[in-house]
């Protein structure tokens, strides 16, 4: 059973991750993790110390759990650039802050840190509203570039073909062909996937004004200490190889592309054909599993259909089952995940322990720590 420790500052509840039912947290590892998250309240997604929180929590976990692998995400600059009106100097300071936190983790932990920029943010143009179509359009707060389209009429498809802000309308069959899937793989794919042009975004669920948005980049930077990788799905085997000799951390620095990446890097493909990943769950999962994840996670799936009262994993966002084949599962040695991308690190990484912020639409609810494996802890 995976345990989730929910920390709302000076108040904790431990639940069975799958059912959400309260459980007594007991044992040395649960006590260690509960103590750690209790001491380290999450400062908030756009707080200047948010990336330092990741480094601090990861360093304490390194000290107490002695992992061989760490999966880290540094996302403060992603939230701030998206949702705050920053000057260029302020933006740069946020990005510099993220890399400083990565560098501090590397220095103090002694880990070999492989850094990946998940792709640049670009200024947000006027939102695109497709709700006037006959069919149903589904996009989400954190995936504003792609939408799923269901029951499109011929008029809808013609309208989209002539829409000045639409870059691509791909039918499910085209997506299956592009990624080499069978018909059975397409269960969670929308009937059509709509992609907007650079700078445009699909308006719908985001309350706040977007100042910058991810432009899914065809290539993303990977620090050259990993060696050359052709595609983001090649990062995993290269990491597993590096783990033979080194303690390794993978640091995903969000909202940063090649242009702003301060370290020596190689580029790798961030998708296939016309499809490039937005920073977020699908991209993280592709890196973690070492294979494309579009069949499982894409911005156009009608996640709300799964949101029933018997949904498993109620504290895991839209996940209703645990992904398999993640990098954490493939590592026999101890592993941790720490990040300020909320509510999915524990699902996507498969690491023994995951500690992540629990924020909803930037509202800071606290911290969630998930313990998948209790059997590897030596006690510290």
């Amino acid at each position: 059973m995976s345990l989730a420790i929910l920390d709302a500052r000076e108040w904790q509840q431990t639940v069975d991750l799958r059912t959400g039912q309260p459980r007594e947290a007991s044992g040395p590892l649960a006590d260690m993790v509960a103590g750690l998250v209790g001491r380290r309240p999450y400062p908030g997604d756009r707080d200047a110390t948010c990336n330092d929180w990741v480094a601090d929590v990861a360093l304490e976990m390194v000290e107490r759990y002695d992992p061989r692998f760490a999966f880290l995400s540094f996302s403060e600059q992603y939230y701030s650039l998206r949702h705050s009106p920053l000057t260029e100097a302020e933006e740069q300071a946020r990005i510099d802050g993220a890399f400083a936190a990565v560098e501090r983790f590397a220095r103090e932990s002694g880990f070999t840190v492989v850094v990946v920029g998940t792709g640049e943010l670009v200024p947000a143009a006027v939102p695109v509203d497709l709700e006037g179509l006959d069919g149903l359009v589904v996009s989400s707060n954190w995936c504003a570039h792609y939408a799923g389209l269901y029951d499109a009429s011929a008029a809808d498809l013609e309208k989209l073909a002539n829409h000045p802000a639409i870059a691509q309308v791909a039918a499910k069959a085209d997506i299956l062909t592009l990624f080499g899937g069978t018909a059975a793989d397409g269960e969670r794919l929308p009937e059509h996937m709509v992609a907007v042009k650079e700078g445009h975004y699909l308006k719908g669920t985001s309350l706040r004004r977007l100042y910058k948005i991810p432009q899914p980049s065809p290539v993303i930077p990977v620090s050259n200490n990993l060696g050359p990788v052709a595609c983001l799905t090649d990062i995993r085997p290269a990491l597993l190889n590096l783990l033979r000799t080194d303690k390794v951390a993978l640091a995903l620095v969000e909202g940063v592309g090649c242009r702003q990446f301060p370290l020596p890097y190689h580029t790798c493909a961030n998708g296939r054909g016309w499809f490039a990943y937005e920073p977020g769950d699908g991209q993280f999962l592709a890196i973690s599993k070492g294979r494309h994840s579009i069949f499982e996670h894409n911005g156009g799936y009608r996640y709300y259909q799964d949101d029933t009262d018997d949904k498993a994993y109620p504290y895991s966002g839209f996940f209703s089952e645990m992904p398999t084949g993640t990098i954490g599962e493939a590592i026999a040695a101890r592993s941790i995940a720490v990040g300020n991308r909320s509510m999915f690190m524990h699902m996507l990484t498969g690491c023994d322990i995951a500690c992540e912020c629990f924020a909803r639409n930037l509202y800071n609810q606290g911290v969630m720590a998930v313990i998948h494996r209790q059997d590897k802890y030596a006690g510290k």
């Binding site: 929910l6 920390d7 709302a8 500052r9 000076e10 108040w11 904790q12 509840q13 639940v15 959400g20 309260p22 949702h83 006027v126 939102p127 509203d129 709700e131 006037g132 069919g135 149903l136 707060n141 269901y150 029951d151 308006k203 719908g204 669920t205 985001s206 309350l207 706040r208 004004r209 977007l210 009608r302 709300y304 259909q305 949101d307 029933t308 009262d309 018997d310 949904k311 109620p314 504290y315 629990f358 909803r360 639409n361 509202y363 800071n364 609810q365 606290g366 969630m368």
Partner: protein, 337 residues
């Protein structure tokens, strides 16, 4: 110049004069919306996320909002949408007619449309038009409100909405002035009573330790006078906006205060707005059995877990549980699937 009769600010309005909320003017001698049919966002959610715990449990709803507000709450959670000049927001607002909005709700299989981002009184004519179409389509209408409308405005809200969650934030004039930007709570108390006579009412109180926490007992006494079945949601305050630097209230301390204040007076008391709250289940008022179970994900994320009712009765003792609407969470199928 005329006086706006929508909320108790009763602002003067003219062709070039807007009121406090900046959402109305009077170019033709009548109160008119400046930005009709303009929406800041819409998202699919469940009634529990609003929160409504006793109205159409588990029903999928389309959550909508506009912009602007008639209050100035120090802890506004949506200040980036609500506190900015609505005119400056129009470039990112969605222009959706009532008919199209209802069509969106139906396409997504929603059973309700719930207005919850900002204050509905600042967009009342638009909401009346949406309600007219929604009722024809068989959709439920719900909203969150600060309850500061005039009696006329409140009557209009009561006519539109099948369920209303009123925020009773504090009682003292000093609190109202310093934390809400209005002179006193009188209109809100009056409107809770008026709405409870015409529609389903739940009440939410964000609790700020040491600021309004000493008033909880008095609030409970007032609500018990409205009716012991009024569901009361005590919220752990999330320090946002002008209170961002303040400490988070202690869950243990506030929880104890809420329990002490409400014991024996209200049938349905909840304490949430934080992850993992243990105070989100509905307990049978007869025997204390948990008859509806929920998960608390904090801030607009509560979810139904299980309903253990015989119709609307407790399966153990048979006592009636106050509910508006069918508790069956198997909501409408998507209209287009």
């Amino acid at each position: 110049m005329i006086r706006c009769d929508v909320c108790e600010r009763r602002c003067p309005l003219g062709p070039d004069t807007t009121g406090y909320c900046r959402m109305y003017h009077a170019p033709r001698g009548q109160v008119e919306e400046r930005f009709p049919d303009r929406w800041c966002a819409y998202a699919t959610a469940r009634m529990e996320t609003i929160p409504f715990y006793h109205a159409w449990p588990g029903a999928r709803c389309l959550v909508v909002g506009t912009t602007g507000c008639n209050f100035d709450c120090r802890y506004c959670a949506n200040a980036e949408v609500v506190k900015v000049d609505p005119a400056g927001q129009q470039d990112v607002m969605l222009d959706v007619s009532p008919e199209d909005l209802v069509a969106v709700a139906r396409k997504r299989g929603c059973r309700a449309i719930v207005f919850s981002v900002n204050e509905p009184t600042v967009s009342l004519p638009t909401l009346e038009r949406v309600a007219a179409v929604a009722k024809t389509a068989g959709l439920v209408m719900g909203c969150l409100t600060n309850g500061y409308a005039t009696p006329e405005g409140t009557a209009r809200l009561g006519a539109i909405f099948d369920c209303v969650n009123v925020s009773l934030k504090g009682l003292s004039p000093q609190f109202c002035r310093n934390y809400l930007g209005v002179p006193d709570v009188g209109p809100i108390l009056r409107n809770i009573q008026a709405l409870a006579r015409t529609t389903h009412v739940e009440v939410t109180t964000p609790v700020i330790e040491g600021v309004n926490s000493h008033e909880l007992g008095e609030m409970v006494d007032f609500l018990a006078g409205v009716g012991p079945d009024v569901a009361w949601h005590a919220f752990r305050l999330l320090p946002e906006y002008k209170m961002r630097q303040e400490d988070y209230p202690s869950v243990a301390a506030v929880g104890a205060q809420v329990e002490a204040a409400a014991r024996g007076k209200l049938n349905y008391v909840y304490f949430h707005n934080f992850i993992g709250s243990r105070w989100v289940n509905t307990l049978c008022p007869g025997c204390g059995e948990a008859v509806i179970e929920r998960h608390s994900l904090g801030c607009g994320g509560d979810r139904l877990q299980a309903v253990h009712l015989d119709g609307t009765a407790c399966p153990r003792c048979g006592a009636a549980v106050a509910l508006r609407g069918d508790p069956d969470p198997a909501t409408a199928k998507e209209a287009c699937s």
